[in-house]
């Protein structure tokens, strides 16, 4: 059973045990427009919560993606290298960015659940 949480910067984190999949939300991909490149971190790299973990480049601009929680990169989505448009087509599925080994489960408590994120989106533009 996985748990999904969201950040105010529109990253999602889907936690399954001590490993979590991180990507950007459908709202974020729609705001960015056509994604043309994703700069992913190196395997084994550790991030503190809120540190820049990846950069997503659309035709429009470069945007930073932050680690929703502290953790170590155990896998990156290498499919994005040849097919960055997966971020637009399936942000919650095939368009994921990295898998993190979560360092501190308690950090998840500060993030929004699905309902809270939906409410948060309503407050934006």
């Amino acid at each position: 059973m996985s748990t999904v949480r969201y950040t105010k910067d529109h990253e999602y984190i889907r936690v399954d045990g001590d490993v979590a999949i991180v990507g950007i939300t459908d709202y974020a991909q729609a705001q960015l427009g056509d994604v043309v490149f994703v700069e992913l971190p190196a395997m084994g790299k550790s991030f503190k919560k809120g540190e820049q973990a990846a950069v997503v480049e659309s035709v429009k601009a470069a945007s930073e993606v932050y680690a929703p929680v502290s953790g170590e990169v155990v896998e990156v989505n290498s499919e994005l290298e040849g097919a960055p448009a997966l971020v637009n087509e399936d942000s919650a599925g095939k368009g994921w960015f990295v898998k993190l080994r979560v360092a501190d489960q308690s950090e998840l408590g500060a993030l929004m659940d699905e309902a809270a994120y939906a409410d948060y989106l309503k407050t934006l533009d």
């Binding site: 427009g33 043309v36 490149f37 700069e39 480049e57 035709v59 429009k60 601009a61 470069a62």
Partner: protein, 351 residues
Amino acid sequence: MAPFAAYDMPVQYPLGIMGEHKWTRESAGLFDVSHMGQVILEGVGAAAALETLLAADIIGLADYRTRYSQFLNADGGILDDLMTTRLPSRTPGVDRLFLVVNAACKHADVAHLRAKLPGVSITTLDDRALLAIQGPKAAEVVAGFIPGVSSLPFMGFLATTYQGADIFVSRSGYTGEDGFEISLPPVAGVQFAQALLADPRVKPIGLGARDSLRLEAGLCLYGHDIDETTSPVEGALTWSIGKRRRAEGGFPGFERIARELKEGPSRKRVGLLLDGRQPAREGSEIADESGAVIGKITSGGFAPSLERSIAMGYVAASHAAVGTKLNALVRGKPLACSVVAFPFFPHRYVR
């Protein structure tokens, strides 16, 4: 929507930047560029007077022909770039010229014209619309509304009417494609835009694709690729300096420009083709293979028609030759690229 030169402009329409870009290259894109400045100069010797502000041959411009040039400052830097068209004289000996200038510079340009050309009547066409329709199907679409456009040559011009309104049609644009820029009074502008958009071959295009299209075409964006510090020679715009003007001078910054023409500029605007898809954007430094910084990117991004990233920027003249291997520094990482000739994507103007 995004603020641009004090106007609220659409970055993209529902098709998105990539889709709009490709649509323009395959069919026809409509751009509302009514924010640009439209100015009429009229007076005895107005062409000669305008030549004191820029380096193009305006005296030699035939009726209904358009020429690209730049307003220059005393140091040979560029104040703005513009299109000038000669309209037929209404009174023998009285020149009549139609100028289109950048939105962000238009008030400064008009003040500059008024200060420097006191004997010339200067009229700004503030409420006129300017619509650009660009792409391989632009000519057949526009010909359905305005007879006579198909026979216009590139940089040719037609003064005609649409629904009773006086309009100007110029066969030019900012995408590298065949197409037109059409100046109309406000009501006719709205009617014409609606009529064009009712045609399934036409879609509206925002600022995002306007930028990616002009970048692929190797065309400068004022304030980014050219500005008050760059000369036309450094900016690889030497082709726009008239032959007679090079010999005679008589324009601001002639000393510097003549020296750069003779000895070569110390830096030059070049095109860079990146090896990969990762964009190198405005502000990124350019390094040679040893790692020494030799320039800076002034425009850059993903090129939808090339499926590669491209950029333009200024590099030291020693590194400006086509084929030179360089690196764009993006977030500290070198991205391999090489100097290529403009345009990145072939122009498809009518000849």
